[in-house]
Each structure stands twice: as C-alpha cells, then as structure tokens.
Symmetry: C2
Subunit: 205 residues, 2 copies
C-alpha cells in the first residue's frame, strides 16, 4: 500500500534502518516483508518467534526521533496483541484505535478487542468503521454493501469515541494498489476530509 514491496532493510551500528515511504523521510516503515528473500516465502512461525520479532522491531530498529509510532496488528487478541501490549506497557502509550467493518461478525471481533484493551489497561482512542457503504461511480447511489452502523453502535455500547466512517471508494483502493498517496491525489474529496478528521481526533486525544 505504501509502494515499498521488494525493498530490503540493512543493519547499521545503531540497529536496523527502517525504509522511508516518502522523500521527506517523515514516514519510517518496518515490516517483516523487508526481511524475506523472496516475496512468495511464507512466514511459518509459531507465537514465540513472532514475539521475538515484535521485540526486535521495537528495540533493535533505529527509529530515531518519532512523533508517533503506529503498530498495525492483525485482527483478534492473540500472540501479536499480547506481545505488543507487554512490550509497550511501561511506555507512555497514547492508546488503541480499533477498526471494524460494519458486519456483525467483524463487530463481534472488535467487541472482544474492547474487552482485551480494558483488561490490559490500554486506553481506547476510538472506533473507526471501514468499508462503510459504497457510492456507485455511475449513478452516485450509496449502497450499504454490508450492514450499516455496526461500528458506531459498538462505540456507544463501549462508551468510547466513534471516530468516523470510511466508505468504499474505488479510487481509494486503486491508490492503495499502486502505492500512491490518496490524500495528495484527491485533495478536498469527502474521503480525504474523513481521513483528516479522524487523524485530528486521534492526535488531539
């Protein structure tokens, strides 16, 4: 999505050097993908190896000075989440942003993540509903492909902020496919405004 496939990282005396996604070097990225020899290689790892890699990403990468460190986890409440939580526990963590899609099965997963955050003392910054409706580019009619409002209902139920809805936009998915910045390409569009609005809410939390 950031156009970084095929890049590889190297080790400096200060640690692994992350890959910068932009020319201005404002977005440093680290991914297990950068460590694979071949893009078809599966990462056939049980939990302990994943835990060790998460520790390495946090401790042995030369992140330099960061304003924000964003950790993107898979869905669920398993090894990755437990390991991240254990490693960041002693740091001043801003909190967790939970992303759901509107369907009941997805909301169910995120509902359990809310309980996970509560149990482990991670503050929930809010919930985002992704893939929230589709605006037909031909007739401009908005269809709720999945059901609608599951994210907002969960936010109310859990008494946490609802940060916004991101609709399905074929232009957004195309930008992600080609590794192009959507916000730069579609300035002023509704979806860009939604992203900016969500970011503003998070950074002012």
């Amino acid at each position: 999505m950031l156009g970084l496939e095929g890049k590889s990282v190297f080790q400096s005396p200060r640690g692994w050097v992350p890959i910068y996604a932009d020319a201005e070097q404002t977005l440093a990225v680290m991914s297990i993908g950068f460590l694979l020899k071949n893009r078809d290689d599966p990462v056939i790892w049980r939990g302990p190896k994943k835990t060790a890699m998460i520790k390495l990403f946090l401790e042995d990468v030369y992140w330099d000075n960061l304003d924000y460190l964003i950790i993107d986890t898979p869905p669920g409440t398993s090894d990755e989440h437990i390991s991240v939580m254990e490693n960041i526990r002693s740091l001043p963590v801003l909190g967790a942003v939970l992303v759901t899609t509107p369907q009941a099965v997805a909301v169910g997963d995120v509902r359990r993540e809310v309980t996970f955050c509560r149990k482990t003392g991670i503050r929930i910054l809010g919930i985002i509903e992704n893939m929230s409706g589709f605006v037909c580019p031909t007739c401009a009619e908005c269809t709720n492909i999945f059901s609608k409002g599951g994210g907002e209902a969960l936010a109310i139920h859990a008494k946490v902020p609802f940060l916004g809805c991101i609709p399905i936009d074929p232009q957004l998915t195309q930008a992600l496919e080609s590794g192009v910045s959507f916000i730069d390409s579609f300035e002023g569009s509704n979806v860009t405004e939604t992203f900016k609005n969500i970011a503003a809410q998070i950074t002012s939390s």
Copy 2:
C-alpha cells in the same frame, strides 16, 4: 453467519456434541464461540493454547459420520495452520481451498499460503476470488471495487485450478447477517449458481 450465536455445546460420554445448523442435522458446527460464557469475552490465547483447542476440536468432538470436515482458518501461515496441518497429516485429506480478495495485499498473503501448502505437502484444490466486483442494485453497473483478476492471475501463476469469482452482493451480506440460507432464498441467482459451481468442482476433486 449460521445464526448460531449464543448456542452452547455440552459434553456427552462420546465427546463434545457439536451444534447443528439445520433441522435435518446435515451441518454440524463447532466453534470456540460456543465455549465462551459471555459474547464479549476475548480469547486471549498464545499459540500453545490454540494448538490444544484445535486438537480437542478434531479429537474430542463427537462428529459422528461425516462426508466432509471443513476447517476454516484465519489468513496467514501461523500457529493455527501449522497445528491443523500437523493434526490432519496422517489422514486422507482432500486438500486446501484458498480464498483471496482481488487486492494486491490480499493476493500476497495467499501467494505465501500457496508456498505453505507446497512445503507441507497439502494439495491445493483451487483458489476462489471473493468480493470480486459489485453490481449496483440501482443502476446494475458492475464496479470493481478493488482491482480485478488477482485471484485468477495467482491461480495461473501457481498452476492450480481457479474455482470462481464471488461478487459482492448486498443480498448475500444481508443473508449472512441474519443467519439465513442465501442459496435457499435466492435460488437461480447468479451468485447461487457460482456457489454451486464451486462446490461441484471441489467435491469432484
């Protein structure tokens, strides 16, 4: 999706009794969801506990006589996949059905799953492309919400059968939300025919 939320299983002398999704008792289901006291409870488990549960589901559930046992795994190639593979290794396994969505990031995951199956000797029955285009219910124009053809291209690349494309159909997602059988409700629809066609290819493999 099967309308079984809130059901709980009990233990008989022959083992855990699965939940039947239909009155004719043709579809027996076992899920960790049935073992939770509260639907908000997260399953905060590292790999070894998940591995033990997979073994229990295979060995300690009274499945009775089955024509097919379908194991639905999360994406990736981690604990769940390794454990399932180790437990079914000695059995006459038909093979794996890989499901992708059309975007490059999803196809990348499934490409690594192809390598996983090759390395572990699991036959690949084929690849399905899910969320493959959206037919607007207002104007009937088909939009490729994500890119198109990723699943078929991967099947060709991996030299495995391409089983078909399942489009996004709001009627399908509504059926899944309410736990209603889509195939029974929309007999003769294109999507129903696609499901039947895919099932026929798998059962004749």
